[in-house]
Each structure stands twice: as C-alpha cells, then as structure tokens.
C-alpha cells in the first residue's frame, strides 16, 4: 500500500535530498508533502492524510521537537510514525526524541540508512 509522506526541513535542498533517497528506497510511495518549519508541518497534517513524517529539529517559527510534541498531544496525529533527520549530537536530546516515539537518523545521512529505517517502520506497520 502506498505511503503518504510529510517532509519538514527549512532547507529545500535537504528536502529534495530526502525525497531522492525515499525514491531510491524501494518503498511504495504515495503523495510527498513538504513544509519549511514545524508550524507549516502541522498545517500539512491538517490538510492531508499522512502516514509518516520526516522532521528536522532546528527550524524557524516552530522547531521539530515542538512539532512532535504537538503531534503527540492530538488524537488524530499521535500515532503517526516520525523519523527525525538532524545534526543533533546530544545523547540526552536524542534519547528524549526516541522517548517521544521518533526514530533518529543523523545528518549527513546515507540513502541506505533511510532505506533501512523506512523498511523497518513499514515492516512494523505491516506486521
């Protein structure tokens, strides 16, 4: 079944890189929506059915962690899987994000890492 994705990053070049890696991953992709900050990301979630969100942390207006907190507080978005793709290097913050149910991919990423995490998540969904 095709998966509808949301990519949230303030860099449009980075969003394009993530889209490219997703297309290489072999998963069945549906619609890919994009946003430049956490607030826009929440708007996209309101507008579209999203199966998986890929989120950066350092963004203007609303950062990625704030966006994830909002998602988790709403019944309609609390169960949407999230992958954080970030340069975050603090062990404590990464652990905090994982406790909020997010998977973590460090920047710079390889497309193989994206494939492996996505396949694990999709595999889990299908199980």
């Amino acid at each position: 079944m095709a998966i509808n994705l949301l990519i949230v990053d303030d860099s449009s070049v980075m969003r394009s890189m993530i889209v490219k890696a997703l297309r290489m991953s072999g998963i069945d992709l549906g619609a890919i929506h994009q946003a430049g900050n956490g607030k826009e990301g929440l708007d996209r979630l309101d507008e579209h059915g999203i199966d998986l969100a890929i989120v950066d942390i350092n963004m203007p207006v609303m950062n990625g962690e704030e966006m994830i907190d909002c998602m988790r507080s709403r019944s309609d978005t609390s169960q949407i899987p999230v992958i954080v793709i970030s340069t975050e290097g603090s062990e404590a913050r990464i652990e905090r994000l994982k406790e909020k149910g997010a998977r973590f991919i460090h920047k710079p990423f390889t497309p193989e890492r994206i494939r492996d995490v996505i396949n694990e998540l999709v595999g889990r969904q299908n199980a």
């Binding site: 490219k20 497309p111 193989e112 494939r115």
Partner: protein, 157 residues
C-alpha cells in the same frame, strides 16, 4: 571458470564463473550482479579521478573510479542487465596503518563511488570498506555470492 581481476582491471562473468581480485588495499573493488540474467562484473580501480591523468584514463579507464564504474554498468546493460535489478557491493578503500596519509586515496575512491551511485540513484546492497586491512574478494556469478578474505579469515558479504 575462475578469472582474476588485476589492479586497474575489470572483468565480466556469467553463470559458472568466479571473479577474483587480490590485494585490495586503498583500491575500490566493485561487484555488480543481475540475478535474473545471471551476469556480473568486478572492477578493481586504483584512483578516484581520471582528471589527474586523462591520457592514462583513455588507455585504461578501469584504473579510475569515475571512468571504470560507469563502464562496468554499461557493459552489464549490453549483456541484458537491468539497473533496477542490479545488486551492487563495494569492498576495499582502506588506508595505511599509519594514519598520516597525505592523499587519502582509499577514502576518496569511496567518495567518488558514492557520488556516482547517488547521481544514478543506486543503493549499495552491502559494503566492506575502510580500516587498514588488505582484502581478497571471490565473486560467484551463478549466485552473486561474495566472499571476502583478509588476515586468514573469510566472511560472506
């Protein structure tokens, strides 16, 4: 039949062939395999960029990663291989035990490979890269099975 791939060399094989290359240090060993038509190829490239010696690249494109890798893919396409079926594995690109290497050849061989794969939207199925060891690779075309030997040990890639 067993075929040896030398330094700055590339060979193609079909079912029943085994391609072998020895002494992969900083060089890149690249194995590509199409499991449907059962053709595969192995490249043993020494240096990252052909621009440092265009004349040499013309006489032996397999010496360089940026000329050898595309040629290996093209050769497999002419034999019926298809990009979306290709299984690609990379080995080698190690560095000297003394880490103060000026030219970082191994790292740069790997970087240029990754650049080519990214540009062409190709994922690596497996890799055994880096470190300070020298590797020997056995690549069985009938199955795509790739075995790496180093320091008296063998492992499946």
């Amino acid at each position: 039949m067993r075929h040896v791939v030398g330094v700055g060399d590339m060979k193609i094989g079909r079912a029943g062939d085994i391609l072998v290359t020895h002494g992969l240090g900083s060089c890149l060993g690249l194995m590509i395999y199409d499991p449907v038509v059962k053709v595969g190829g192995m490249l043993h490239a020494m240096l990252p960029l052909s621009s440092i010696n265009p004349q040499k690249a013309e006489s032996n494109p397999f010496m360089f990663v940026d000329t050898g890798v595309p040629l290996l893919f093209q050769e497999l396409y002419t034999l019926g291989g298809e990009k979306n079926r290709m299984v690609v594995k990379a080995v080698g690109c190690s560095q000297p035990a003394d880490k103060n290497e000026l030219f970082k050849i191994g790292e740069r061989n790997y970087t240029i490979l990754r650049k080519l794969l990214w540009k062409n939207s190709i994922l690596l199925a497996a890799e055994d890269i880096g470190g300070t060891i020298s590797r020997t690779v056995f690549f069985e075309i009938s199955s795509g099975r790739t075995v790496i030997a180093s320091n008296g040990n063998e492992r499946l890639l």
